[in-house]
């Protein structure tokens, strides 16, 4: 591409310091000095403001935030008797949770400043090299213009990436850190402090008494994810084929009927399904009044039946989306190829097997992989339909239909064992990440992108 410059030989920063003039030398202490000296005022100003701001922040609360990270707080919250009021008065202590969160934020800030510092040195070096070669320096106007051309990607991506840093990366690091602390129901802030415990929680989940819950739940999570994904795909394709059968009228109406269900928010349709499938719900009542059954079918209250019901309800939710995509693919199929196959005497099934289906699979592969990951983390269906139930006396804090995510949710909300939840979160993360990276590098559809 257009990146010849990156292969050019540069002098090292050390050489720059030795050989450079006063502006270059000062750039090592005062960021942006070299830019000022060479009339790149705006750029220099940004560097300088960043440095001054950073130092100001560092002294005001940065050092404190970083130092506290080591212990996660030492001062406990307490109550002191105040004789004037005749009652105890709150004496605030450290809050380990906030110390951790803002400590990590502080580390991120330091990293950003280090990067900025290096950029500053590179800028100084660039000026030095251009001058040495006798080339003109870019003006502020030139720089701004380049943002719409050579550096257009930077213009497009800067703001979105900031959002990612703040609302995805920072919370992610915070969550991961919790796995290494004893932040559980016995050490809840604000009164109690929690602290670092290393890999203790991991060994607990993998070998301790939590393990007897973890592995069965993991097993069901995987089974569920595979069955849910494959069944939705399979039946969705069949539905699309049915609707697109030659000679079927009102194709658009059929499609619209199924699409209706996609427009109803999931939490509504799932709560409604829970009501419908209740032991005393309309479905059981009707079947009883017709005399088909005498006892309610335990759709959601028997462990095996509940798993089955969940998968069926998931079909109701998932099929229309697959149908819609598949329809798009079928309509775009290469008709000539199919006609040629017909000429060669291929029957419909053969055509489907060797032309239509491979094409559908090829197109759908990325979305299937994403669906699989989505199903591993499918919170809504389980939480709203069964709430993880029915209960299971062999598990710790989980029910028979709980997936790892819903179990994790229980651990944070009901039992407040944040550390265990975080370990499980990390394990889910590793599972999904490894799988999708493998898929990313091994499937054709991904390679194309």
């Amino acid at each position: 591409m257009f990146k010849k410059h990156s292969t050019e030989q540069h002098i090292t920063f050390r050489e720059l310091f030795m050989k450079g003039g006063l502006p270059e030398k000062l750039s090592f202490i005062i960021m942006g000095f070299s830019n000022f000296a060479n009339k790149q005022i705006l750029k220099g100003l940004i560097f300088l403001v960043a440095e001054v701001g950073f130092l100001f922040w560092l002294i005001r609360n940065g050092i404190h935030a970083l130092a506290m990270l080591q212990t996660l707080g030492t001062k406990k919250q307490g109550l002191v008797y105040n004789s004037k009021l005749g009652m105890d008065v709150l004496q605030k202590g450290d809050n380990s949770m906030l110390i951790l969160l803002f400590g990590i934020a502080a580390i991120l800030i330091c990293i950003v400043l280090v990067i900025l510092y290096i950029v500053n040195l590179k800028s100084a070096r660039n000026i030095y090299e251009l001058k040495a070669a006798g080339k003109p320096l870019p003006s502020t106007k030139d720089d701004l213009k380049s943002l719409l051309n050579e550096r257009f990607h930077q213009t497009l991506m800067t703001i979105p990436l900031m959002g990612v840093l703040f609302f995805t990366v920072l919370p992610l690091l915070y969550m991961i850190s919790i796995a290494f602390t004893n932040y559980d129901h016995n050490n809840l802030p604000p009164k109690n402090l929690f602290t670092w415990v290393g890999f203790h929680n991991f060994s607990n989940v993998i070998t301790g008494d939590i393990a007897s819950t973890f592995f069965p739940v993991l097993g069901w999570t995987l089974v569920w994810a595979v069955i849910a994904t494959v069944s939705c795909f399979f039946f969705g394709v069949i539905l699309a084929l049915l609707i697109n059968t030659k000679g079927i009228k009102l194709k658009k109406m059929w499609r619209t009927i199924f699409i209706l269900t996609m427009a109803v928010p999931q939490f509504i349709s799932l709560l409604i399904m829970r009501n419908l499938l209740n032991d005393a719900g309309p479905i059981n009542s009707i079947l009883k009044s017709w005399g088909w059954i005498s006892k309610s079918i335990p759709f959601l209250t028997d462990p095996t039946m509940a798993k089955f019901s969940i998968i069926v309800v998931n079909l109701w939710i998932g099929i229309p989306a697959t149908m819609l995509i598949t329809t798009g693919i079928i309509q775009n199929l290469d008709q000539e190829q199919i006609e040629a196959a017909v000429m060669d005497g291929a029957n419909k099934f053969q055509i489907f097997r060797s032309i239509t289906f491979p094409q559908i699979l090829f197109v759908m592969m990325p979305s299937l992989i994403q669906q699989l990951i989505g199903n591993i983390n499918n919170f809504n269906v389980i939480y709203l339909l069964t709430g993880g139930g029915p209960t299971n006396s062999n598990y710790y804090g989980a029910g028979s239909t709980d997936l790892l995510v819903t179990w994790l949710y229980n651990l944070t909300v009901n039992t407040m064992d944040y550390n265990l939840a975080s370990v499980i979160g990390i394990l889910i993360f590793i599972l999904s990440a490894v799988f999708s990276l493998w898929a990313y590098t091994h499937t054709n559809s991904y390679k194309e992108g």
């Binding site: 005749g86 950003v112 129901h185 710790y396």
Partner: protein, 411 residues
């Protein structure tokens, strides 16, 4: 390579944003807790159904205390622990909560201990069981405004007052809709163990290692639960309990005073209430017990004006407010004087709840934090025993596990 503008811009903005974040966090640590003479704002969380009743009382309170301004917001008492611990600083100053969360919330530093002055008031004005309910490690942590325990609601036209005195006649002459098989069974049926003489967290409910369900009596209880599956007078119902009662599918139902108005709607004139029946685990009739819950106003430890907050909590739990709550929402008073009013004495539900709140009919729900480990374990054992998923030879093993889990300090 005219500089990496992106990195510069990104870095600059990120730096300034992050500093804003941290500065914001830093500056908020300024001190609180000085009660000045200017107007004080108090926020109070009230269960949605209670909002209209409480708003009237709050108005009277504001009139009497012109310097305190109270904001009433809808909250959920059952989620007090969760909602307050999410962000104590932004949580309400005063909130409704069930007493069994006191242990965990006090240990997490979320609850303000009641000042000496009000401790005296609380102890003097409330029934003993309510005082026990709000006392944790010898300190009072809340203002009780009601007691509740499950009672037996039944259909007068199907069952007589005599029929409902024992479980066996109740279930042979009518159908009891109750929940053995789904989540929530722990709340209804754990007290069976205490009926049969076992202890949950000791006799006082505060001894961490005091659970002893893993004995002969405990196994008797599980045997009894398993037998209920084939008892045709027991109908498994959970969410649909009220509609089953209405449609006549069931004739009786175990629930608390909070269901009073709904049951009235379902049964109309045929509604009747009684204390729990007796039950026979194999060694004679014993009283079937229920958990006793105390409804409490807690004060947030992070409140900026503790004096005003306590004043309000005290007001919202005084005799007058308890009467209002009884009239509008059927909350059975914990205040001894309020319990003696004619209206309360005439109310069947209140009468039954008051009978149930005596120690031979109920157990004050324990509030040790370790109980969070106990609940899910107990729930699943009751569910699985009823459904026949646990062999009777395994009862001992399962109960051993309950006992060990219940005493577990950390994982």
């Amino acid at each position: 390579m005219k500089k990496n503008w992106k990195k510069i811009l990104l870095g600059g903005v990120v730096l300034s944003m992050s500093m804003l974040v941290l500065a914001g966090c830093g500056s908020k640590s300024s001190s609180s807790s000085s009660d000045s003479s200017s107007t004080q704002n108090i926020k109070v969380w009230i269960d949605t159904e209670h909002v209209s009743a409480i708003k009237g009382q709050v108005k009277k309170f504001e009139k009497a205390n012109p310097k305190i301004h109270v904001t009433v917001k809808a909250g959920s008492s059952a989620d007090a622990l969760k909602d307050v611990s999410k962000d104590p600083e932004k949580a309400a100053d005063v909130f409704m909560m069930p007493h069994d969360q006191i242990g965990q919330m006090a240990d997490a530093g979320l609850l303000y201990p009641v000042s000496k002055k009000y401790t005296k008031t609380v102890k003097a004005n409330n029934v003993q069981s309510a005082v026990d309910g709000v006392t944790w490690k010898n300190k009072v942590y809340g203002f009780p405004y009601g007691v509740e325990s499950q009672v037996l609601y039944y259909n007068k036209s199907k069952l007589s007052a005599e029929d409902v005195k024992s479980w066996d006649t109740l279930t042979s002459k009518g159908k009891l809709g109750t929940n053995f098989a789904e989540a929530g069974a722990n709340y209804i049926f754990t007290p069976l163990f205490m009926s049969n003489g076992d202890n949950l967290y000791g006799k006082n409910g505060e001894t961490v290692k005091g659970t002893n369900f893993n004995n002969e009596k405990g196994i008797q209880v599980l045997d009894w639960i398993a037998k209920q599956k084939s008892n045709s007078g027991v109908v498994q119902t959970n969410a649909a309990a009220l509609s089953n009662l209405q449609s006549g599918k069931t004739d009786a139902f175990l629930s608390g005073p909070w269901s009073k108005n709904d049951v009235k709607k379902a049964l109309g004139k045929n509604m009747a209430v009684a204390p729990y029946p007796t039950v026979n685990f194999g060694s004679g009739d014993v009283q079937m017990k229920a958990f006793l819950g105390v409804k409490v106003y807690g004060v947030n430890q992070q409140t900026k004006s503790p004096v005003a907050a306590m004043k309000l909590a005290n007001y919202l739990s005084n005799e007058a407010t308890q009467k209002v709550e009884f009239n509008k929402n059927g909350v059975v008073p914990s205040n001894t004087k309020a319990q003696q009013t004619q209206a309360v004495k005439d109310d069947e539900t209140a009468k039954s709840v008051m009978t149930m709140s005596a120690s031979d009919h109920s157990v004050v729900m324990p509030k040790v934090p370790e109980i969070t480990n106990f609940w899910p374990q107990m729930d699943s054992i009751i569910n699985d025993t009823y459904k026949g998923k646990i062999k009777s030879s395994d009862y001992q093993k399962k109960l051993d596990k309950v006992v060990s889990v219940s005493a577990k300090k950390s994982n």
